[in-house]
């Protein structure tokens, strides 16, 4: 399918997403909504759909960039400690500067995420045998260490439940006024696209990049910066969504290859589409209740990922 096809599909699914919910709003109401319907649309439904699209694009692209930088298809925000670092940052903000606004909390989450990404990269650089499975295992270990630090502080302050709730991605609480920080991921995604060619070269390794006259360190740092911005704003607004950054880039890579200039738009659109569909499913399965999106993505993504793994053999 071409880009235009994905785009049309995305718009269609996004429309479907807007019209699903407990309050019945039909397509015709959009032209002549009563006051309540207008309120629900602008305060809840449209922000929700928008944040799904942004998070879907952002997390998929972040996964792809991490995979390029580590030269490992199994690395993603979930398996590189990125999500755990963002969570730790949020917790610290929550404990030490409780009056901090959304933006400041996102900033602290960003600082932690960026630092953790640098540390993770440093660890993988030192691994002698860069085995394809070993690197993400180290990432998961690293993430668990960060997570246990979070648990420690959360336990001492009796907020274990709050912290665990952050971990489970949830779009039902997205409302106008509390999700706008997500738009910070837009410039990050844009920069990623500008650097697409350079990230392809980075994916071929440091020696290869140097041969082609690329400033390797600089491009890696820009990549980590974009990933950290995106992941931290997603975690702070909707929570962690596992597997998305792993499955989407891998599916696109299998279908369209690894030339990022060509495949980046596919990864972005497919990521958004995937998340929207999972969210719709999550809202319909137990209607009028919701299955948290993290669970749906985890199950669908996990199954897809297993299929991918077996097909690679």
């Amino acid at each position: 399918m071409r880009i235009a096809g994905y785009l049309t599909l995305l718009i269609l699914v996004a429309c479907v997403s807007v019209f699903i919910g407990v309050k019945d709003i039909s397509v015709w109401d959009i032209f002549n909504p009563d006051e309540e319907q207008a309120l629900i649309l602008t305060v809840s439904r449209i922000p929700r759909t928008l944040s799904l699209i942004l998070a879907g694009i952002g997390l998929s692209i972040s996964g792809l960039i991490l995979q390029q930088i580590t030269q490992n298809k199994f690395v993603s925000p979930t398996t590189a400690g990125t999500l755990d670092a963002a969570k730790l940052g949020l917790l610290i903000a929550f404990l030490w500067i409780p009056q901090a606004g959304l933006f400041n909390r996102a900033l602290l989450a960003f600082v932690f995420t960026f630092a953790a990404s640098l540390v993770f990269l440093n660890i993988t650089d030192r691994i002698r045998h860069r085995n394809i499975i070993f690197v993400p295992l180290v990432g998961i270990l690293f993430g668990n260490i960060l997570s246990s630090v979070s648990s420690f502080f959360a336990y001492r302050n009796n907020i274990v439940q709050n912290v665990n709730a952050w971990l489970v991605g949830d779009f039902s609480s997205v409302l106008k006024g509390n999700y706008e920080v997500l738009f910070l991921s837009v410039p990050a995604i844009f920069i990623t696209y500008l650097y697409a060619n350079k990230f392809t070269v980075v994916g071929m390794g440091e020696a290869f990049s140097r041969n082609l006259g690329l400033n390797y360190r600089q491009v890696v740092n820009i990549g980590l910066f974009c990933v950290s911005v995106t992941v931290s704003v997603v975690v702070i607004t909707v929570g962690a969504i596992p597997f998305l950054g792993l499955v989407v880039p891998n599916i696109i890579s299998l279908m369209y290859g690894d030339n990022l200039r060509k495949t980046l738009p596919y990864t972005a659109l497919f990521g958004a589409l995937f998340l929207l569909v999972c969210d719709i499913a999550g809202r319909l399965i137990l209607f009028p209740f919701e299955v948290p999106i993290g669970v749906v993505v985890g199950v669908v993504g996990g199954v897809l990922f297993l299929i991918l793994l077996f097909r690679r053999r």
Partner: protein
């Protein structure tokens, strides 16, 4: 000309290169030979600024390589490392196009496209240009990488064991291409090579490294003699001449 001046490099206590100096002539094929751990690859990496030396300088056309901007240097000198760990799903043509990266940063101009086409033809890759790298055999892969370097169009081409893992037929193919690049296009080729017979057949000059130093540097003709090789490798050599070509027998 590449002038290596007093280059030293050590890893911890272990000295790999000890004030090595050598001038590699322009427009010739020069092979670096020596036992494992003699410092051949390290020297090649330092010349191509992939590795930093502890002391000494490398001059490329009388200018310190550290004074070149990375991007400009990449238009003069290219390096192909052994075993390029390419896991990425790129087509041959996409890979070759990246050879133009130092010039266009990825946005190919018509001139770049022409270079890419020519490089693909030069290595006879037309038929598989659209295939993904991970579908190719070792020989085809190596040719694709070489095509990328040809597209990069640098005066100096450095190769670290270009024949690694290739069967005889493909090894000969690669060496003939390198010879052609030198003879027809005037490229300077510098390579690390393990097979002494390939070094002897295809190089103009040979640098023999031993114990972190340059043991011998001369024309291939004069290095491929039993006395020299015995000193370099610490083993018996017999040299047989057939049809005017020297073949080393060391088995």
């Amino acid at each position: 000309m590449i002038e290596v001046k007093d280059i030293s490099r050590s890893y911890g206590e272990k000295i790999i290169l000890d004030e090595v100096s050598v001038s590699l002539p322009k427009g010739k094929v020069t092979s670096l030979i020596g036992s494992n751990g003699a410092g051949k690859s390290t020297l090649l990496s330092i010349i191509s600024r992939l590795l930093k030396q502890n002391g000494g300088t490398v001059l490329l056309d009388s200018r310190d390589i550290d004074d070149y901007k990375t991007r400009i240097l990449a238009q003069h000198l290219s390096i192909l490392k052994q075993a390029n760990p390419l896991d990425l799903k790129l087509t041959v043509r996409e890979l070759v196009s990246f050879g133009r990266f130092p010039y266009s940063q990825g946005r190919l101009t018509p001139v770049d496209e022409e270079h890419v086409d020519r490089a693909i033809r030069y290595l006879n890759l037309q038929d598989i240009a659209g295939q993904y790298m991970d579908e190719l055999s070792g020989g085809q892969k190596q040719r694709a990488f070489l095509a990328m370097v040809v597209a990069q169009d640098t005066d100096y081409i450095l190769l670290d064991e270009p024949l690694n893992n290739l069967d005889m037929k493909h090894a000969v193919q690669i060496m003939k291409t390198l010879r052609k690049l030198c003879d027809e296009k005037g490229k300077t080729i510098v390579m690390v090579i393990h097979d002494i017979n390939f070094a002897s057949q295809y190089s103009d000059f040979i640098v023999a490294l031993k114990d972190s130093r340059v043991a011998f540097f001369d024309t291939a003709e004069r290095v491929i003699v039993p006395e020299v090789l015995q000193k370099v490798f610490d083993m018996e050599f017999k040299i047989v001449e057939t049809e005017g070509k020297k073949i080393c027998n060391y088995y």
